[in-house]
């Protein structure tokens, strides 16, 4: 005879219930989350604050201040964005069937809310930090009609932006980030669980901007990659190439004297990605610190390695020789 309630507890318990206050979890499997969805209330604010803290005295001070203003405008655009559409259970199921991320721009068609985000970003961005050419790009986007904006967004997401549009693409990328971050935040992390981990975002299929390794020892020490589009982060094995999945011939390069950041270089595909160590510097933010550490990219590029660009540093950089 099973006591009342026990049967239910046995059948419908959560797989990994959060420990209650004071509950002893010794002996339980200490695992960090496989997927962390973005927190809409803080994601852009933390990023903007980090960019403002990094800017003073930096070689790219003006650029970092511009992106800080852009991210602040993203935060403002996020609050009061009109209701959008989300993939339902059937779409998520279908996406899983074809092994794509549910918010992959190739299979999920965006709604119009991103253009509202774009116009708000263009309206509210601090004009004082914008150089003339950035203002020209802003004006051009404000004048642009719906069709050309949609086609620019398609080209950005599909990876086919013309060189002359690089400045406009930054604003478009920011608006798309707002829309995709909101959609990702409304997903259920359980729907994104995958059997095999990949180098692409489980929520939207975009490449990661950088990886963060949490403090080691008794606190997991796992690496989480951070999505360049929707700010979702997901766990990925350390010492494994983000681009080709190789675990062979991985080497790390860092500026002499800096311990918080290393470039994980793969000799197999000649790609690299940045790995930040939270243990060494606690205030890290994946996208902001990636922009602030472009100096490392220059040196690592000279050694013959290439990366997937940050969405705000899109442009004609040297393609790697084959």
């Amino acid at each position: 005879m099973v006591p009342p309630g026990s049967r239910q507890a046995l059948t419908s318990g959560s797989d990994s219930p959060a420990p209650a206050f004071g509950e002893n979890i010794l002996g339980a499997a200490a695992e960090s989350e496989r997927v962390r969805l973005p927190d809409l209330s803080t994601v852009f604010q933390i990023r903007a604050a980090r960019l403002r803290a990094l800017a003073p005295g930096h070689d790219l001070e003006g650029f970092l201040r511009l992106i800080a203003a852009l991210v602040t405008a993203q935060h403002q655009a996020l609050s009061g964005l009109p209701p959008g559409s989300m993939p339902g259970a059937s779409e998520i199921g279908k996406a899983r069937l074809v092994q794509r991320a549910p918010l992959d721009p190739a299979i999920w068609s965006r709604d119009e809310s991103w253009r509202v985000a774009l116009s708000r970003i263009l309206e509210t961005i601090d004009l004082e930090v914008l150089p003339d050419s950035a203002r020209v790009a802003r004006e051009a986007l404000m004048q642009a009609d719906k069709a050309s904006l949609e086609s620019l967004a398609d080209r950005f997401l599909g990876g086919d932006v013309a060189v002359g549009e690089a400045a406009q693409a930054v604003f478009v990328a920011a608006a798309l980030q707002v829309a995709w971050t909101r959609m990702a935040a409304l997903l259920d992390a359980g729907d994104l669980a995958r059997e095999t981990e990949g180098g692409e975002c489980p929520a939207c299929g975009s490449p990661p901007v950088s990886g963060l390794v949490s403090p080691g020892g008794t606190k997991f020490g796992h690496r989480h990659l951070h999505c360049s589009l929707c700010a979702t982060s997901w766990r990925y094995t350390r010492v494994r190439c983000v681009h080709c999945g190789s675990t062979d011939r991985i080497s790390f390069r860092n500026l002499a004297g800096t311990a918080y950041l290393r470039a994980e270089c793969c000799e197999a595909c000649h790609g690299y990605s940045k790995v930040f160590y939270i243990e060494k510097a606690r205030t890290l933010e994946p996208l902001a610190d990636d922009l602030a550490s472009l100096g490392l990219d220059v040196l690592v590029g000279e050694e013959g390695f290439a990366r997937v660009p940050n969405p705000f540093v899109l442009g004609m950089m040297e393609p790697p020789e084959k």
Binding site: A137, A167, V239, H243, R253, L255, P309, L314, E318
Partner: protein, 197 residues
Amino acid sequence: MAVTRRQFMKVSAAGLAASSVGALGFMGAGEGLAAGVRPFRLEKATETRNTCPYCAVGCGVLVYSSADGAKDSKARVVHIEGDSDNPINRGTLCARGAASLGFANSVNRLQYPVHRKPGSDKFERVSWEFAMERIAKLAKEDRDKNFIAKNRDGVTVNRWVSTGFLAGSACSNEAGYLTYKAIRSTGILALENQARI
């Protein structure tokens, strides 16, 4: 030529000026950045997954090695820590495992075969060929002398009980399988694993 958010790009000072950084109005920023970073040296290190050599738990370790600062530019192990992605130890190590850096770099570590001749009181360095041949010859001699093909009742048993074999602890299942197959095929029964010590 198109600009893409998915494909590989090499970052360079000139490239930054041609990217959205330059397009937004920061043309000279790339050169300034490159000049600012030029005085820094790039340090190189490798991280290698391995299994801790001590006991049978088989904890995963990450071995950091670097050639920086070494006179002969030969890479040396500089740090060893638990592998967070290993399901067995989840990044933790016991006191011995955590101290295995000293084990790897120990000056007392045996790096080549040594041989103490019968009647001698000291070890001498020998070649691998010599060591292999010597062991094989003695094993063969012992097996020829003591091999038991049939027991008292005439049943075939093929035993070689005068020699035992001790295998390593940090072996994978596959290495364990091969060890068992190779050693049992000689008739050895006293096959043991260092795991139990």
